[in-house]
């Protein structure tokens, strides 16, 4: 039985090209250098004995204005307190993100939602459509530069 909590050193040793930090929010944080590593890293986190993170609890994106950050929350159903945040920055201009669907079943809908809200396309996704908004919707609302003439200005804002 491995230790319940993941250690930063352990992560750093397993993924030398990524940067492991002691995160505050949700377990340690693993910052990936490039988005190409994403699938391989997740595969290893899921299957390798010392990690065993078989649940993709949440998968979302963040618009910082300059770039998008993909945020993944991984947990385990066996060692329940174990958790890990994986982050990867991608450029705002049409970066290609490989899909996580083969690794995590929940990624299918999460990725559709990220596409819907941020316009990030996932290559290899089986069903890359909008999920919450209507198909004919223009733009991706959670981008910081999203404009809609029907949006009301809050007084004083």
């Amino acid at each position: 039985m491995s230790r319940p909590e993941l250690q930063v050193e352990q992560l750093q040793a397993a993924f030398p090209e990524a940067k492991a930090e002691a995160g505050k929010a949700f377990g340690p944080e693993l910052l990936l250098g490039s988005v190409e590593q994403l699938v391989a890293v997740c595969e290893q986190l899921k299957t390798a004995q010392e990690f065993g993170l078989e649940v993709l609890e949440d998968y979302t994106a963040l618009d910082t204005g300059e770039q998008f950050i993909l945020v993944l929350r991984l947990t385990s159903n066996q060692i329940i307190t174990r958790k890990l945040t994986v982050k990867v920055s991608i450029s705002r201009a049409g970066a290609k993100v490989p899909t996580l669907c083969p690794v995590y079943g929940s990624a299918e809908w999460y990725e559709r939602e990220i596409f819907d809200m941020f316009g990030i396309r996932f290559s290899g996704h089986p069903d890359m459509r909008r999920i919450l908004l209507p198909d004919e919707w223009k733009g991706h609302p959670l981008r910081k530069d999203y404009k809609d003439e029907r949006m009301l200005k809050r007084p004083g804002a």
């Binding site: 505050k24 929010a25 949700f26 078989e54 649940v55 993709l56 609890e57 949440d58 979302t60 963040l62 618009d63 945020v71 929350r73 159903n77 329940i80 307190t81 945040t85 995590y104 079943g105 929940s106 299918e108 809908w109 809200m117 909008r130 999920i131 919450l132 908004l133 209507p134 609302p141 959670l142 809050r154 804002a157």
Partner: protein, 380 residues
């Protein structure tokens, strides 16, 4: 046709009958989709060939709205996510805000949150139980469970003047202290409620038809549950003992004695049993919380304009449907830079196509009922 000219044993090879597949649109207006959910079913006779959920009918842009509102303004909106267990949404959101700013919540406030939260879990499970009965065609359990739920709603009315969308939690505590007579009222209710799970058991659990309709139906294997990040009672119905209240205790849950209910079968009946047992456990927690209720402040000192330092956090609570999470990013202003809501029903619904593969039409409804999703939460 070639296949028809040959004599084929159609009993063992039903595909040789060459029947047509019809597409059936279930919803968005349908009694069993529990809200505005559309399910595109492809049917071969009574058998479902494929099922594709279509969501977004009640999408209100919650994550976008958060970016235009101050932290405090947003609390009341969170009630409208999972409106059947609204406390958990507020609680989780406030927890995230508190984590961001490093606020210590007074113990009495934590206890009040636990009491209201567990009452909410009870009422949510009661609604689910009635709806589940409806879905398999039994009308009567609904009226019984709604009778009890009404009592809980009246208790909430006493507590915060609202029956469903409470707006009770505040960043750093709760809105108001217990009103006079509240504790006695809850105790009376618990005393009355003590034997109710057995009454429901007699109405449904031991009924041969109910068993036939739910046993072995919609089996959620552990692999599927892991892969689709299913949480809450659905996961526990598949034999995984995962309950944040026990395993990653937040608030004051570590101070209570309760069991995490699991069933190993993973079918609709197992999920049903887990939820009925959870009602008993919730009642136990409330009883203990009332006994141990400490005196003191009900809210921490928080400035009127809440400006958390730059940073981010991810808070989770165990809602009545599973793990509810709020991911808040602060840029130091009075409004969140990003508010991401992780809802349990989203994952619960995403396994639907797998669960509904090759079942009967009637089972579609039973499985949907047993998964217990709620659409406003999925659509946000």
């Amino acid at each position: 046709m070639e296949a028809q000219s040959k004599s084929v044993d159609t009993l063992s090879h039903p595909e040789a009958l060459q029947t047509d597949v019809i597409t059936l649109n279930m919803g968005p207006q349908h009694p069993s989709t529990h809200g505005a959910l559309r399910l595109i079913l492809k049917l071969d006779g009574e058998r479902v060939v494929s099922a594709q959920p279509d969501i977004g009918y009640v999408h209100r842009g919650y994550e976008k709205m958060a970016e235009a509102m101050t932290y405090n303004q947003y609390i009341y909106l969170t009630d409208r996510l999972d409106y059947l267990s609204a406390i958990f949404n507020e609680w989780c959101y406030c927890l995230a805000c508190e984590q961001l700013a490093g606020i210590e919540v007074p113990r009495r406030a934590e206890y009040l949150r636990v009491i209201s939260g567990e009452l909410c879990r009870l009422s949510s499970h009661l609604v689910w139980l009635g709806a589940m009965g409806m879905d398999v065609g039994a009308f009567t359990p609904l009226t019984y469970t709604f009778r009890e739920r009404e009592m809980i709603l009246e208790i909430f009315d006493l507590l915060c003047g609202q029956r469903m969308t409470f707006n009770y939690c505040r960043i750093g505590g709760v809105a108001r202290d217990l009103p006079a007579g509240f504790i006695e009222r809850v105790r009376d209710f618990l005393k009355y409620f003590e034997r109710m799970p057995d009454v429901y058991d007699r109405l449904l659990s031991d009924n041969a038809i109910f068993l036939a309709r739910t046993r072995g139906i919609g089996t959620l294997t552990q692999e599927l549950a892991h892969s689709h990040a299913v949480t809450g009672p659905n996961l526990r119905g598949s034999g995984v003992s995962k309950d944040l209240r026990k395993d990653d205790p937040y608030s004051v849950y570590a101070e209570f004695d309760f069991k995490v209910c699991t069933q190993s079968e993973g079918d609709a009946l197992a999920r049903y049993r887990v939820r009925v047992e959870e009602m008993r456990q919730s009642a136990r927690i409330i009883k203990q919380a009332l006994d141990q209720l400490p005196a003191g402040e009900i809210t921490a000192k928080v400035s009127r304009v809440f400006r958390p330092p730059v940073g981010e956090t991810y808070a989770r609570v165990e809602s009545s449907r599973g793990i509810q999470g709020f991911y808040l990013v602060s840029d130091g202003s009075a409004k969140p830079a990003r508010c991401r809501i992780r809802v349990p029903s989203f994952a619960g619904l995403s396994v639907m196509p797998k669960l509904l593969h090759h079942v009967q039409v009637a089972d579609v409804v039973a499985i949907m009922g047993s998964i217990d999703f709620i659409v406003p939460e999925i659509d946000r």
